[in-house]
Subunit: 347 residues, 2 copies
DNA sequence: AGGAGTTCCGTAAACGTTTGCGGTAGATTT
DNA sequence: AAATCTACCGCAAACGTTTACGGAACTCCT
């Protein structure tokens, strides 16, 4: 804390060259002779020189830093995205500033302002309660990428695709789910939404479309706003009254909590009722019974985000919005309404 | 991307004052008249001025930024610490750069160097595979705080306490666990370690001490290095042979996976065997059966970390190492060896 | 009326980099 | 021997802040 950190001038003095030469030598500028480069590098090494990125950012007018805002890293699905994002960013020499928005407008605004103050090279936002316009306004002119947002073209539209959104292919996922449900002989299906705003609607709509496309009756949808404080308890009660054959949930977290509530109500899964989740978080594969869900490579999504941002830097504008591939993974919570699950190894 | 961002100069020109005045006005310096302050603030507002923290950091020789290195945010327990850390940091006007070390020495070194390059105001490190000395060396002179490390005084020592470590009170936790186990009539107990290095030893030692203090036989300890790729499968097989009454696990994640493996082997929990975890991650309370575990407020731990770091800034040296309070929460996996669990509401 | 205080603001240096431009020395050509 | 070229390197400006210091204008006292 007290001693000064070693700077370029220290290295320069020790090497009897100018700071310019040191800077160039360390960056491998061919203008500097190989001999000098080596010598400078060695001296920088023994002096334990660490470049000051804030100074560098200042002159370069851009910091090798990305901002990443999530509702809450505690959620496994967010954690995976964050991990992938940070990992890929590090590979490309970028740091990432993390901020939790907690689905609170004021907190999110503060977080985005913080990113702007840091002059980040780009920002990825997931599950914001703010409008995309406001987010862009706060961050401008840094490129922003929306993870799991809805400005993604429907299969019909082709021209003038929206840009800067990345989300799992809910439509495909729900199609797979419904096909599976039909094959297993389920009749009535219910849907229970999670807590995140616009996000869940997309997924819900994907389910109702999938059902409709196959001539199936509409699902009854239950809405749970507050997952953590017993919001699913009332949903469980509703479901107990309705008694659908299977309930598909907004995400695995919702599904897992719901399973607990349903068990508390005396139901046994999957004998009395089937459950399907979405995301395939790690705990989905070790729950009891193991959860059938649609798997998305969230870490890949995170990694892809920084590639998106990097491409923006190179090409000047954000790439087109994209869907990430998903895949249904059938486990133990959807054996078919009449079949009794058999104990055994994992799927 | 293309347009320039508004700086102090822009505001100064518009307000017909000097940049110094603008700077002071925005920071509420009493040297500037109230009238001028108001006017400057308004102009800064309409111009949407956002201060450039990299420039500020450069002149202040310290960036309002903390570094936080975790093995992997995907782990819920780490996610909670990160969340608490970031939240408290934001409250204090600090940003946090997140980096995953993945328990890989080279990756961790890169991450720490990155922190040093950012001239962070402090760093919190959890679950590193590097030695504390090396971490300090890489980061010097920034203060470093070790989360879950072992330089914590044993209850005997009092003088010259080590500094800069924060971890849950494993000893107290394991005492509570063992008391509970005895009360419930468990006889033989096994321990299975997780994957994190020095960390798990502390917890294991806490368990064996707790057992020894109460005149109980030593636990047989199983070691699982690789949680994700079936490392617990062989442990489950071992346990099947040993058939202890109860197995206490390094953490909830280990416990939950082990439960799954044990079920796959045909055991039913808790009738055939009891399980206790550590951490009380969210999924511990909704597993089937619900996991009894010792709860630590990981988010509080994270928050406390930034207070630690802040205190270091003010007082010049790191505060003494501390234990965080923990509390046993009894749920359904330890009803006693003979009792059959009854269905019902959560504990 | 002149000096001392007070209040308010501007000047300029500094933080550690990067990089365009110019310069020097030696080598090569005329 | 003068001129051109090449290879290497230094000078200095710039990035956007903060803050010590000085200075102008005004008030108040004697």
């Amino acid at each position: 804390m007290t001693q000064r950190r070693v700077t370029l001038v220290d290295v320069a003095q020790r090497a009897s060259v100018s700071v310019a030469t040191v800077s160039r030598a360390l960056s491998g500028d061919p203008q500097i002779s190989a001999a000098t480069q080596l010598r400078v590098r060695q001296i920088a090494d023994v002096l334990k020189y660490v470049p000051n990125v804030t100074a560098r950012s200042l002159v370069l007018q851009s910091s090798a830093t990305f901002g990443l805002m999530t509702p809450d890293v505690t959620d496994p699905i967010h954690g995976q995205v964050v991990t992938g994002f940070q990992q890929r960013a590090a590979e490309q020499g970028y740091s990432v500033i993390l901020s939790n928005g907690f689905r609170n407008a004021a907190t999110e605004q503060r977080a985005l302002r913080e990113f702007a103050a840091h002059r980040v090279a780009g920002v990825a936002v997931m599950g914001s309660v703010l409008s995309q316009a406001e987010v862009k306004r706060l961050l401008s002119p840094s490129p922003v990428l929306f993870i799991g947002s809805d400005h993604v073209p429907s299969p019909g539209a082709d021209l003038d695709l929206p840009r800067g959104c990345l989300r799992p292919d809910d439509r495909d996922g729900m199609n797979q789910v419904v096909d599976h449900l039909i094959e297993r002989g389920y009749g009535t299906v219910a849907y229970v939404s999670g807590s995140s705003g616009a996000n869940q609607m997309i997924r819900r709509d994907a389910l109702v479309s999938a059902l409709a496309d196959r001539g199936r009756p509409e699902p009854v949808v239950h809405r749970a706003d507050d997952l953590d404080s017993g919001g699913l308890q009332v949903v469980a009660a509703e479901i107990l009254r309705g008694r659908p054959d299977v309930v598909v949930c907004y995400d695995d977290k919702t599904a897992l909590i719901l399973m607990d509530e349903l068990r508390a109500e005396g139901l046994t899964i999957p004998v009395d009722i089937g459950i399907v989740g979405f995301d395939d978080i790690p705990f989905a594969s070790i729950s009891n019974p193991r959860l059938t869900t649609v798997s998305q490579r969230s870490d890949e999504l995170g990694r892809h985000c920084v590639d998106f941002l990097l491409a923006t830097r190179d090409r000047g504008k954000l790439p087109r919005s994209q869907h990430m591939a998903v895949a249904l993974v059938v486990r133990e919570t959807t054996p078919g309404p009449s079949r009794i699950p058999k104990k055994g190894k994992r799927s």
